[in-house]
């Protein structure tokens, strides 16, 4: 017995030494380049993609997106939907804990969702709960947060009532604004609850350090229900505003991935990094908007002629080095069950399009004697400028005299939001959730982002009909019809390019799945 014991200890000792020297016990650290620092780490005050990348690791909503951006149960283990599609009942995940060890309950979601829609929180993404009964009235100050149609039937059961069946509701619940926050944490610390080392969260990681403009450190949350399958111990989010520096830091091994590339250097980068560069379609659209309530841009034939003459292939290839994809619809491809509706010249050759455009302009009385003058407004960015310059050149042969106005982002969007005076202006839209409605709502009468001031009853009716559609198929068909009218026929937006994601990911990082939402939760990744 004695001999056996000492042999066992010797074996354990040896294996321990071997494991330490081979690094089996070494902490796995993932240095993740993230274009910018978060504005806020309070899920109810966030608005940017950079924040989403961090919060997705720190928190867990009722539903989550997996490595392929597919919706899966998160803080809720399962759910049921009532026959009328208006009531969702979520069963909370057994064993799900906050990082302070307390259980995540239905009451946490009641508290958090009320906080999200409360006007005092002033959440930019309060509208993510717009489908929930009374949510919009609460945000507008017409009702009290307690009147939000959510309730905790018991600590394990959370019930939500919606205004109407909302097929994309589960998709919306993956958005960071719907994440829960710990009431006890906020009651104790007030606004300081978001500080590193104090933030109580329910995700796979816990926030331990935040040095603005340097790094955000999150370490594996031992209380996380699936901690056994989380392979990366520490994730450092490193803001990489200077993309050229980010490339050098990646090359030097200081970064394991970065969520952006200096696209103008793409050819060199491809030669250097090979298959570590990931480029693919992303759910976002780069577009121009005409000021439709101002002559002559109220003339749809004129709008179509100009749109038709813009060579999108050239923009994608030459200006954006194929990091963008030519677009003829507002809703990008990639949404299951939805048929995008493109403008009717999408399939024609550029030469034919130019001939047609010239004919229309001549019909409308424009020509060398009466040139059409158009001002393109865009916000400061080398690529936005190059795009506008290319379009200026493309429209010149048609006798259109294009002038360019470049202003900083705040001035640009300040003017658009106030429906100031302009001819045509640049804008972009990145989907919050994977549904065509997220794009098409922009063209509804009176929507905040409807910069063109497009207003068409037929379009609004189709959108309303889609919202009330009985089946998902019928809904998608109605949305598609709406796009055919609002976008393809009337050009409430002039789609130019679909965005693409462009990530640089080290071969050491495993489990990285490219997807249209460009979502890559660290808990599903591993590092060699």
């Amino acid at each position: 017995m004695k001999v056996q014991f000492s042999l066992k200890s010797w074996l354990i000792g040896c294996s321990l030494i071997a494991m330490t020297t081979t690094g089996a016990f070494a902490e796995v650290i993932y240095n993740r380049g993230n274009s910018a620092d978060p504005e806020s780490l309070d899920p109810h005050k966030t608005s940017t993609v950079y924040e989403a990348n961090i919060l997705r690791d720190l928190f867990m909503g009722l539903m989550i997106q997996d490595a392929k951006a597919q919706v899966q149960p998160g803080a809720a283990e399962s759910f049921t939907v009532s026959a009328d599609g208006k009531t969702y009942t979520f069963k909370m995940r057994k064993g799900a804990l906050w990082s302070d060890g307390s259980p995540v309950t239905a009451d946490d979601f009641v508290y958090s969702w009320r906080r999200l829609v409360d006007p005092a929180t002033a959440s930019e993404y309060a509208y993510m709960l717009a489908p929930v009964t009374n949510a919009e009235d609460i945000t507008a100050g017409k009702k009290k947060p307690e009147e939000l149609a959510v309730k905790a039937i018991d600590p394990e059961t959370f019930e939500v009532t919606l205004n109407a069946p909302t097929p994309y509701f589960l998709e919306m619940l993956t958005h960071q604004s719907t994440y829960p926050v710990s009431k006890a944490n906020i009651d104790k610390l007030g606004a300081d609850f978001v500080k590193a080392g104090k933030l109580v969260s329910n995700g796979a990681y816990v926030l331990t350090e935040f040095v603005p403009n340097d790094h955000i450190k999150a370490v594996k949350n031992d209380k996380f229900y699936d901690a056994a399958n989380v392979k990366i111990d520490v994730v450092n989010f490193i803001p990489t505003e200077d993309r050229s520096t980010a490339m050098k830091r990646f090359e030097a091994g200081e970064l394991d991935s970065n969520d952006d590339l200096p696209t103008e250097q793409l050819a060199d980068l491809k030669a250097k990094f090979g298959d570590q560069i990931h480029i693919g379609p992303y759910l976002g659209t780069y577009y121009y908007a005409f000021k439709i309530d101002k002559a002559p841009w109220d003339n749809v034939k004129l709008r179509q002629a100009i749109s038709e003459a813009i060579d999108r292939d050239y923009l994608a290839e030459k200006v954006w080095q194929n990091t963008m994809i030519p677009a003829y619809s507002f809703v990008p491809p990639g949404i299951t069950g939805y048929e995008t509706r493109t403008t009717d010249y999408a399939e024609k050759s550029q030469l034919d399009r130019e001939d047609e455009a010239k004919k229309v302009l001549a019909e409308l009385g424009y020509g060398p004697d009466k040139p059409l003058k158009m001002e393109i407004r865009f916000n400061t960015s080398e690529n936005h400028k190059n795009t506008a310059v290319a379009i200026q050149e493309q429209l010149k042969p048609l006798g259109i005299e294009v002038s360019l106005v470049n202003t900083d982002t705040k001035t640009h969007y300040g003017l658009l939001e106030q429906h100031g005076d302009f001819d045509i202006a640049r804008a972009g839209w990145i989907a919050d959730y994977k549904d065509p409605e997220n794009f098409l709502a922009l063209c509804k009468t009176g929507t905040g982002n409807n910069y063109a001031a497009y207003s068409n009853k037929e379009y609004d009716d189709l959108m309303a009909a889609a919202a009330a559609a009985a089946t998902p198929e019928e809904r998608m068909k109605l949305l598609s019809d709406a796009e055919a009218i609002g976008v393809a026929r009337d050009l409430c937006v002039v789609p130019l390019l679909y965005y693409s994601y462009h990530n640089l990911v080290s071969n050491k990082v495993k489990g990285w799945e490219n997807n249209v939402m460009d979502v890559h939760p660290t808990r599903f990744l591993a590092k060699e």
Partner: protein, 307 residues
Amino acid sequence: MLRYVLRRFLTAIPTLFVIVTISFFLMRVAPGGPFNQEKGLNPIIKANLERVFHLDQPLWKQYLLYLNNLIHGDFGPSYNLPDFTVAELFADGLPISIELGGSALVLALLFGGILGIIAALYQNRPADYAVIATATAGSTIPTFVIAPLFQLFFALTLKWFPVGGWGDGAFINKVGPVLTLMLPQLAIVARLMRGSMIESLRSHHIRTARALGLSDYSVIIKHALRGALLPIISYAGPAAAALLTGSIIVETIFSIPGVGRYFVEAALNRDYTLVMGTVVVIAIFTIVFNLIVDILYAVVDPRVRYD
């Protein structure tokens, strides 16, 4: 002297007040606001945000509120980084910018000064030409060229230093940014020192000192250098105020968490409170360093007296 310093500090208060007032209203003249962005906000949500940050109040009320907070040492929360107050952002970043800028300035004064003296002593000889050539190159190559070259050569090729990052203040992380900040300053100091030293060496009191048979060391260091220091001091004051409050280019390229980037970023983001905080900090640094320059004048130049 003490009375003079006290008087200068008292006159700084109305100066600061005027700077704050002008900046406050100028900032609001700029079109757009902190909550204009690519994803435009629903008017109700925007109104909620404006109410939370008191932007729904008349401008004069906002101004009085800001002044009142400022007097109580409260710079307010940053609009674009609401997890932090402006004071917290400066508390985190300013020591880093001061450390980098201060090191660069001290090194530039020391080595620039020595190079300038050598050039002056060996005027129109190879040593002088070498210093002038280096100084001209140093002051004409912009930092946004020096910094990436440093990264390429010393970090990526030789692997002596990291490409970027603060690394919790590790020495090797500071070398690149300090050298990049230092080089243009060193060039300017060397040229200034050379010019003023040549002039000083030609002056009557130096000729007298030499005629009296004083040693070279005594002539150059004790007498000529003292006179030659005045232009350097005049230059170093404003340069210190600029260097210690950070450089957006160097901090961005080397990923340094200083405060240099806040001035430009805050203005572009219409982050009113952060802009005002930056204005106040830079104003205070400028006032203080101008005062230091004036005091040093009195120390160095026997003709200057403040009492």
